[in-house]
């Protein structure tokens, strides 16, 4: 159906978006690459005007050999993976529940999606102070009520706490997408399977889950992109202490706390590489699901 004319028109119409994004990707990327090969310590008077010293791969070697590097990669993967698993599992359960006939469905749905509207800084502050505070937090009151010793969440279960906070924020998104997918499921097919004597579990695994494949793919893809660069939740709660330093946070420490732009830029390049490895990995598993 596409004519030659519409093809060239299509190209023109795509141009603004493509050119803008290309610029948005290339300009910072080139600057980051340049900085990553230089000694750039603004606190010691280095600046672009005065010229930056070329140091080759020194920054890359130093970033990689730092004792903080591999733990931070591990923390990043555990955090992203943890949030994905929690939001997907609970998202599917919640979507199936909300698909049932219930009274006040609209209100329940509003309650469930509300966390998605809360800005990350605020949700981190609310969880840290109102929920997880070891003295005045709701959890500590709850623990004491049941006669248990309150938990110092952000200290003794720091990574778990951050995964909890991020999951709370992203569960609504997963639930909504999974819910729309479930609603499109052919109920006759399910009924037929029920009549054939399929157990609820096998109905779930052979009919519901395959149907959700595409939705799961999309939730995974979008959340991974956002979770890899998670920042406010860590900055506000633990400041990277107690094993919650992700790769993003490590770069933040190098760039802001240590004011070592070269080293931080090298870290940024590593982060891009990691993100792309994760992305390729994701595409492999889910790519065919996207058509």
């Amino acid at each position: 159906m596409a004519t030659k004319a519409s093809r060239s028109a299509a190209r023109i119409m795509m141009a603004p978006a493509v050119v803008l994004l290309l610029g948005w990707m290339l300009v910072p990327l080139i600057l980051t690459l340049w900085f990553s090969f230089t000694k750039y310590l603004p606190m010691r008077g280095d600046s672009i005007e005065r010229g930056l010293d070329w140091v080759g791969f020194d920054n890359y070697a130093r970033f990689l050999s730092s004792s903080a590097f591999w733990p931070s990669v591990q923390t990043t993967l555990v955090m992203v993976g943890g949030v994905l698993i929690i939001t997907l599992v609970f998202g599917i359960l919640l979507a199936m529940l909300l698909d049932q006939p219930i009274w006040g469905q609209g209100i329940v749905r509003i309650l469930v999606i509300a966390p998605f509207f809360v800005m990350p800084t605020v949700s981190a502050l609310v969880w840290k102070n109102m929920m997880m505070d070891p003295v005045n937090g709701i959890f500590s009151h709850l623990w004491r009520f049941f006669g248990a010793e309150p938990i110092a969440w952000l200290q003794d279960a720091s990574l778990t706490s951050i995964i909890m906070i991020a999951s709370w924020q992203w569960l609504p998104f997963a639930t909504l997408i999974l819910l729309t997918a479930i609603q499109s499921l052919d109920s006759e097919q399910l009924e037929a399977a029920e009549i054939d004597g399929a157990s609820p579990l096998s109905r779930f695994f052979y009919i519901v889950l395959p149907h959700l494949g595409r939705a799961i793919t999309i939730v995974t893809l979008i959340q991974t992109i956002f979770l890899l660069s998670i920042f406010a939740e860590i900055f506000v709660t633990t400041g990277g202490a107690f094993g919650t330093r992700t790769l993003t946070f490590l770069i933040f420490q190098r760039v802001i706390d240590s004011q070592n732009i070269g080293l931080g830029s090298a870290g940024g390049v590593y982060a891009i590489i990691l993100a792309n490895i994760v992305a390729i990995f994701l595409m492999r598993i889910v790519g065919k699901n996207l058509d």
Binding site: M13, A17, W103, F117, P120, T121, H141
Partner: protein, 276 residues
């Protein structure tokens, strides 16, 4: 008999769903509740639920310290501006991807998404330097452009999936009638895509509203949105639970209300083409 069981089942599912909904909503509820307490009541042991004297003093003292409406206006302008601009740029792109697909369409789409993987902190310096060069620091325009670029891939993708749902026959029929490309876009396609565009706008407005890294680092006073507003309340000296709650409530209330009004729209539209 069947009705009996189904009613009982409905009671159980209702109870479970409500319980879960309330648990998920609790942190927000508790924050809003605490914002009406005094600082002493906010840390009372045991926690007070409704048996306290409601007060507005936290809101008053927050407003005295910072001009809430200015931050709110900046948030509205930046989130709204970036969403509108992004949608304007994305509609033609998504249109051509959906109706004139080529072998590379999927690759372009995934490449666009991959631009979101550059970690913001890693490019803070490059972006700041560029902003200094172009005098964009602390301007709404600068933030509108940055947030537009950040969200553009998502906008393109969402619109692309909606446009693909539109049956091609309709377009062909329009072409038979001699519709020009521009007419095709405005009179045939856009009306059909309105629900999709609306939910795209909504989602991106929310994402832009909640963006807290660039909005904080590229602004000072004139263009500072609510994310900067909340940064001045996060850990002041002394007791601060109630004031923090009030400031938090003020920061999230507008978007929460907007979200609630439009939740049907959002729910209907938020599929990313996931349904098929």
């Amino acid at each position: 008999m069947a009705r009996m069981t189904s009613t009982r089942r409905k009671i159980i599912t209702t109870a479970v769903a409500w319980a879960i909904g309330l648990v998920i909503f609790f942190p927000i509820f508790w924050t809003i509740l605490t914002s009406f307490k005094t600082e002493a009541q906010a840390i009372n042991d045991p926690p007070l639920f409704f048996n306290f004297d409601w007060t507005l003093e936290n809101y008053i003292s927050v407003q005295e310290r910072s001009d809430y409406l200015r931050f709110l206006w900046n948030s509205v302008a930046i989130a709204g501006g970036s969403t509108l601009l992004g949608t304007l740029i994305a509609i033609p792109a998504a249109w051509s991807m959906a109706f004139v697909p080529s072998v590379r369409t999927k690759d372009i789409l995934l490449w666009m998404l991959s631009t979101k993987m550059l970690p913001a902190v890693g490019v803070l310096y490059p972006i700041s330097l560029i902003f200094v060069q172009f005098n964009l620091l602390d301007t709404k325009l600068g933030l509108i452009v940055v947030l537009m670029l950040i969200n553009l891939p998502i906008i393109v993708w969402m619109l692309y999936t909606y446009f693909r749902e539109i049956p091609g026959e309709i377009l062909e029929a329009a072409r038979m009638d001699g519709a020009k490309l521009r007419q095709e876009l405005f009179y045939v396609l856009t009306p059909m895509a309105i629900p999709g565009i609306a939910s795209t706008l909504l989602l991106n407005f929310i994402l832009a509203w909640n963006e807290a890294f660039w909005t904080l680092n590229l602004t000072a006073a004139k263009a500072a949105p609510l994310t900067a507003f909340i940064a001045s309340y996060s850990s002041p000296e002394g007791l601060f639970f109630a004031k923090l709650s009030a400031a938090s409530t003020m920061a999230i209330a507008p978007i929460l209300i907007l979200g609630w009004f439009s939740q049907k729209q959002l729910v209907r539209g938020l599929t990313f083409g996931a349904v098929k």
